[in-house]
Amino acid sequence: MAATGLIPRVRRPRHGPRRVVGQKAWTPYLFMLPGLLLFALMFGWPAFISLQMSVSSYRIVTPVRYVGLDNFLRLAADPQFHHAIGNTFLFMAMFLPFAVVLPLFLAMLVNRRLRGIHAFRAAYYLPVVTSMVAVAVAWRYLLSQEGVVNWLLSLVGLGPIDFLLDTHWALPALAVVEGWKNMGLFMVIYLAALQGVPREHLEAATVDGAGAARRLWHIVLPAILPYVTVTLTLGMLESTRSFESIYVLTRGGPQDSTLTLGYYIWHTAFEKYDVGYASAAGLVLWLIMIGLALANQRLTRRRDA
């Protein structure tokens, strides 16, 4: 994972382990004590409970009962769960351009010395700092049948589409809203990447008569490739966190067309109170995410070799 830049290598101590004056063996652990306690309370214990629940039947009102792998067998035969997995990957595929491709163009647009460029960067980043609920409220107006988006479509002779109530359009509409909200974040990542592109190479290429497209393909892209892995990984993670927009805008509907794994888990646990079953589904989501992270790492390593 180190090569993705997400997890940097820890710098090895220069002189090897040694006792420093005033430092007892347990000093570092004492420093980390609050962090470790919180980790145990908010991650360790919940992880343990999660595992326990996934092999139990538990519906809040009934006592916990061990059922072995029953939950997983039920999941394997549950068409709604399969549908949710499909939607999760579909959503990811529609969200990734907003994380990996479009922000690069945004970053290139604002990566220049111009008066007021900081204001533009801030404007593009604005949706990132606002709450998803507020964003959802605004987009509910924009996407409604009489909203601005449909008006723009009508100008080119299309529509109207009731985006959030149409089973074909609801999931793409959510991907656009989530993409719009998060694009600024990925833009900043690419901005950092672009600042590392050697200026001399670009100038040399310009002198040699290379056009913009050639410079992008042969100089900029190779230089920022490690960052593409970062946006890809973060984009995948972010797309599985799309719960809030779904909750506010569509509640998984119409007809389960926006039911993703995250929403499925929430719905199963907190609306149907089938906690054990939801925990098993959560474990499956977790395994999928580990799988994606490992695949990503593999991809990176092959290129490094």
């Binding site: 997400l6 382990p17 420093v20 005033g22 430092q23 063996a25 000093t27 570092p28 652990y29 420093f31 980390m32 609050p34 962090g35 919180l38 980790f39 991650f43 214990w45 919940p46 343990f48 409970i49 629940m53 647009l109 990566n111 220049r112 010395r113 111009l114 900081h118 960067r121 801030a122 404007a123 593009y124 980043y125 604005l126 700092v129 606002t130 709450s131 609920v133 409220v137 605004a138 107006y141 009489e146 909203g147 008006w151 719009w180 600024g184 900043v188 990542i189 950092a192 600042q195 200026r199 670009l202 100038e203 310009t206 809030e244 909750y247 995250g262 888990i265 929430w266 646990a269 925990s279």
Partner: protein, 293 residues
């Protein structure tokens, strides 16, 4: 096309003289494009504001859209403030931010310091342990954390909202980077003077890391101000709702008038946008710095 202009590094470009004759850039075209794209990102918020200012005599929806309020009225803001426990939601969010952010900074700093500056067995392991929390989606933690909170008897209480927000891999990660970047000589000098690790941490490392700590405070403020999902699960009593959850509640209660909902939403955005506008340069550059590592 705008992307055609050569990509340049602002810092370097500032110090270097123009080395080569280059194509005159179409500046006006660039600005037009910049403004158009800005419209895409700021427009929805302006639309929200315009809707909140519309008088009831003017329809919210019309075709083609009639977006300019004539005349602008503040009635809906007054309504949002008075008919909903709006002040209460705001106060709750202030409380959540006020308690969580300081704790978050202390825990992040004390956890990050040994990971960056003290050599001990298992340092890499502990670092990866804390970092691994970054890869867990919130939805996965909802159920088990709900059960943990119930076990502790903390459901539907302020601590239920505060506790999970204190530990964040981002804080530990950024501060570890900052502490690790402090020159060895500075730390060594303090050690030679006989300072203990705690003393070095408090009097040397933390003051040097102040810019990072400030940025973390801002990011913490933003994220806690916007928190929605976990409070939704952990809280029942609406008098403890933070503002973002309050807005969703508002949309359920007064779903009848979109102007009132728009006004309430704008009110919830004001503090976080104000903080961002004043500090955006620091936020953006620190985010970029964090990515570069």
């Amino acid at each position: 096309m705008a992307v055609a202009a050569p990509v340049r590094t602002p810092e370097k470009a500032a110090t270097k003289p123009k080395a080569l004759p280059r194509r005159r850039r179409p500046k006006v075209g660039t600005y037009v494009l910049l403004v158009l794209v800005a419209g895409v990102f700021v427009g929805p918020f302006l639309l929200l504001l315009a809707t909140a200012l519309k008088p009831s005599s003017q329809p919210v929806f019309s075709f083609p859209p009639d977006l300019i309020p004539r005349p602008p009225v503040v009635d809906w803001f007054v309504e949002a403030w008075t008919t909903i426990p709006y002040g209460r939601f705001l106060l709750n969010s202030v409380l959540y931010v006020g308690v969580t952010v300081p704790l978050y900074l202390v825990v992040s700093a004390t956890t990050a310091y040994p990971l960056a500056r003290i050599s001990f067995r298992g340092r890499q392991f502990f670092f990866l342990l804390f970092l691994s929390t970054m890869f867990l989606p919130g939805e996965l933690m909802l159920i088990p954390r709900f059960l943990v909170m119930r076990e502790l008897g903390l459901l539907d209480s302020y601590p239920a909202v505060i506790l999970p927000a204190i530990l964040s891999s981002l804080g530990i990660f950024l501060l570890r980077q900052t502490f690790a970047a402090i020159p060895d000589e500075v730390i060594e000098a303090a050690r030679v003077d006989g300072a203990s690790e705690w003393r070095i941490f408090l009097s040397v490392a933390c003051p040097i890391a102040r810019p990072t700590i400030a940025v973390l405070a801002i990011l913490g403020f933003i994220s806690i101000w916007n928190s929605f999902l976990w409070p939704l699960v952990a809280l029942d009593d609406q008098s403890k709702f933070p503002i973002a959850l309050g807005i969703a509640y508002l949309s359920g209660v007064s779903g009848t008038d979109v102007r009132g909902l728009a006004a309430g939403t704008v009110l919830s955005l004001v503090p976080v946008i104000a903080v961002f506008v004043f500090l955006q340069r620091h936020i953006l550059s620190s985010m970029a710095g964090a990515v570069k590592g």
